[in-house]
C-alpha cells in the first residue's frame, strides 16, 4: 500500500516536473539584437521569415529549416528554401506577402529599411548582422537562443571552428605564407584583412596584400596591386574574364604564373556569406592555396552561369 502510494507520488512528481519543463519551454525569450533593441518573443517561434541568406543557412543548419516559411530572394541554400515564398530583397521587401505568412519572428540584417515598417505592423523583428568571424559566433548564439537550441548552437560553432583549424593545419608548408589578393569586384575592390574573407585568409596563414588599416573592402588604385605583386589572386568568375588584360597586370606573379583561383558562382555564395558554411569557405581557400603551391591553377571548366537574383 505504502509502496503504491510512493509510486503515485513519484508519478505525480514526474508529471509536475514535465509540466514545469513545458512551462520553461513556453517561457518568453528575451534577447538583445544587433540594433541594441531588446526583443521579447512569447515562446520559441514556429513560423520564421529570414531576409538574409546567412541567417537562413544558420536556421537550417540548426535543424529548424521546416520552421522557415519565407525568405529573401538571395537565400538559395539549402535547396529546400528555394521552394519557399520569395519576399524580395532588403530594400524592396514585399511587406504584404510577408505579413500574410504570419511569422512569429522575422530575422534580417541591421541595414534593412524594412525594420520600422514591420515593427509598425506588430511583427517581432530580430536584426542580426554577421560580418566577421566573431559576428558569426555571436549570431549563432542569438539564433540558438531564439530557437531554444543554445547547446546545438555552441556545438555547431565548435564544429565550424574545428574544421577551419583543420583546413589550416593540413596545408603543406609551401602553401603557407603566400601573398594573396582577393578581389571582391573589378573596381578594383579588394577584401582587406578586416573583412570576413581576409580573416579566413589570415587563419590559413596567407599574407593578404591589403593591410588592415584600409578597412574591409577598399577601392584600390590598380597600381597598388601591381606593385604588391601577389603570388595568388582569388576572384569571382564574373570578374575573372578581363583580369589578365588590365593594363600592367601581366607582370603580376599570380597572372604570369597562372595562380588565378576563379570561383564559380556557387563557390562565391559560400565565400561571401558569413554564416555556418564558413568552414566550407576556408576549405575552398585552402584548396586554392594548395593548388597554387603545386603549380598553375586550372580555370573552371564550366562557363559562367549566374542568373540574376543570387548574391555573388
Amino acid at each position: 500500500m505504502t509502496r503504491r502510494m510512493t509510486m503515485t507520488t513519484m508519478l505525480l512528481r514526474a508529471a509536475a516536473a514535465a509540466l514545469f519543463c513545458a512551462q520553461a519551454m513556453a517561457a518568453p525569450i528575451t534577447l538583445k539584437d544587433d540594433r541594441g533593441h531588446t526583443v521579447t518573443l512569447p515562446e520559441v517561434p514556429k513560423r520564421i521569415v529570414s531576409l538574409l541568406p546567412s541567417l537562413t543557412e544558420t536556421i537550417c543548419e540548426l535543424g529548424d529549416c521546416a520552421k522557415v516559411v519565407g525568405v529573401d530572394r538571395f537565400s538559395n541554400f539549402p535547396a529546400t528554401v528555394q521552394k519557399l515564398p520569395k519576399l524580395g530583397g532588403l530594400d524592396d521587401t514585399s511587406i504584404e506577402t510577408l505579413v500574410a505568412l504570419k511569422p512569429d519572428v522575422v530575422v534580417l540584417g541591421v541595414s534593412a529599411r524594412v525594420i520600422d515598417r514591420l515593427e509598425g505592423l506588430g511583427l517581432k523583428v530580430v536584426a542580426l548582422e554577421p560580418k566577421s568571424m566573431s559576428d558569426v559566433q555571436r549570431v549563432l548564439g542569438k539564433m540558438g537562443q531564439i530557437l531554444g537550441k543554445d547547446d546545438d548552437a555552441r556545438r555547431l560553432w565548435n564544429r565550424i571552428d574545428g574544421h577551419i583549424a583543420q583546413s589550416a593545419a593540413t596545408l603543406p608548408p609551401g602553401a603557407r605564407g603566400l601573398s594573396v589578393y582577393y578581389e571582391v569586384d573589378a573596381g578594383p575592390y579588394g577584401a582587406g584583412t578586416a573583412s570576413f574573407m581576409g580573416e579566413i585568409l589570415t587563419r590559413l596563414g596567407a599574407k593578404n596584400i591589403i593591410p588592415a588599416e584600409l578597412g574591409p573592402f577598399p577601392k584600390l588604385n590598380p597600381e597598388f596591386i601591381v606593385r604588391a605583386d601577389p603570388q595568388v589572386i582569388m576572384v569571382g568568375q564574373r570578374n575573372a574574364g578581363g583580369l589578365p588584360q588590365r593594363p600592367g597586370w601581366q607582370a603580376i606573379r599570380a597572372v604570369k604564373n597562372q595562380r588565378l583561383c576563379v570561383w564559380i558562382p556557387s563557390e562565391s555564395d559560400v565565400l561571401v556569406r558569413p554564416g555556418p558554411r564558413m568552414s566550407e569557405a576556408a576549405a575552398l581557400m585552402a584548396r586554392c592555396l594548395r593548388e597554387a603551391a603545386a603549380g598553375p591553377v586550372a580555370l573552371p571548366t564550366v562557363p559562367f552561369n549566374a542568373p540574376p537574383g543570387g548574391m555573388r
Binding site: 524592396d92 573596381g187 578594383p188 575592390y189 584600390l220 597598388f224 607582370a251 562557363p303 552561369n305
Partner: protein
Amino acid sequence: MRPSALLSARTAAQLTALLALGAALLALGLAIGSMGWSPWTDGGETMRLILWDIRAPRSIGAWLAGALLALAGAIAQGLFRNPLADPYLLGCSAGASLGVAALLFVMGISPAAAALALRVGMTGAAFVGAIGAVLLTLVLARGVTQSLRLLLAGVVVGVVLGSGSALLTLMNPDILRAMQAFMLGSTGYVGWSAVQVMVVAMALCLLVALGCSRTLDALTLGEDTARSLGQRLTLIRLLLIATLSLATGAAVAQCGLIAFVGLVAPHLVRSWGPTTHGALLLLSALTGGALLLAADIASRWVIAPQELPVGIITALLGGSYLLWLMHRRKAHFGGGSGGAGGGGAR
C-alpha cells in the same frame, strides 16, 4: 566675324599656357601613384612597367577624356545656345549606363550571352548605348530642326533609359558595385588601346567642330539670322550632334560618367574674355583635359593607395567653381545680357 580670331595673340597665348599646364600635369601624373608621391627616379623593372603601362596611359587618357567631354560641352552650349547644356543632354549618359547595365545583366544568363558580352566589353556597350540614346532622341524629336524639341526629347530619353538601367540593377544586385563605379567615373583601367581610341575620336571631332565653328558663331545671333546669313543649319546641326555624341560616347565608354567637366570647361574659357567659337572649342578642350587630369591625380593622391572615384572630385571642383562664377558675374546667368544666355560666346 574675324576669320583671324582663331590665331589672335591672346588666344595663342592661352593655347600655349594651357598646353604647358597639360604637360606639367602630365609630368605630375607620372609621379603620383598608389604610394602617393613616388616619382620615377627609383628605377627598377616594376617601376618602369608601372610608369609605362599604368601611369602614362592613365594620365594621357584622363586628359583626352576631359578634352573630349569639354569639346562636347562647348559644342552643346553653342548649338543649343544654352549655358546649362552639357555633353549628356541628349541622353548619352543614360544610354551608356543602360548599355553597361544590360551587358552586366546578360552575363551569366547563358554561356552564349556571356561570350557575346565578353566580346562586346564594357566600353563597347557604353559606346553603343550612348550613340543609341542620341539616335533615339533624334527620332523622338523628329529630326534636328527644333532645338526645344531636341532638348525635351533628350530629357525624356535620359529619364526613361536611366530608369531602365536602375531596374536592371535592382533585378540583379550583383552588378551594383560595377554600376556604381561606372556612374562615378574611373580612369583606373585606361590602357594604351583606350588612349588610341580617344586620340582618333579627338582628331575627328576637333576637325568637324572647328569646321563648323563659323556656324556656331552665326547661331549666337539667333537661328533666323544664322539662316539668313546663308548657313545650312540642318546639315551642320546634324554634323555637330554626331560630333558631340562621338566625343561623349568615346570618353564615357573609357572612363564612365564623369560629371561637370563638359559643363564647366567652356564657362571657364568664356570667363577669360570673349572668343569666337573656333577658339572657344579649342581652348575648352585643353581646359577640360587639364581639369580631368588634375582631378584624376587628386583621386589617386588624396587617400592613396585607395582611390576616390574621379567623378566625385570633378563634381566638387566643377560645382564650387560654377557657383563662384555665378556669383561673381551676375549678369552672365542673371539674364541681364538677354537671349538664352549665349552672350558669353561671342
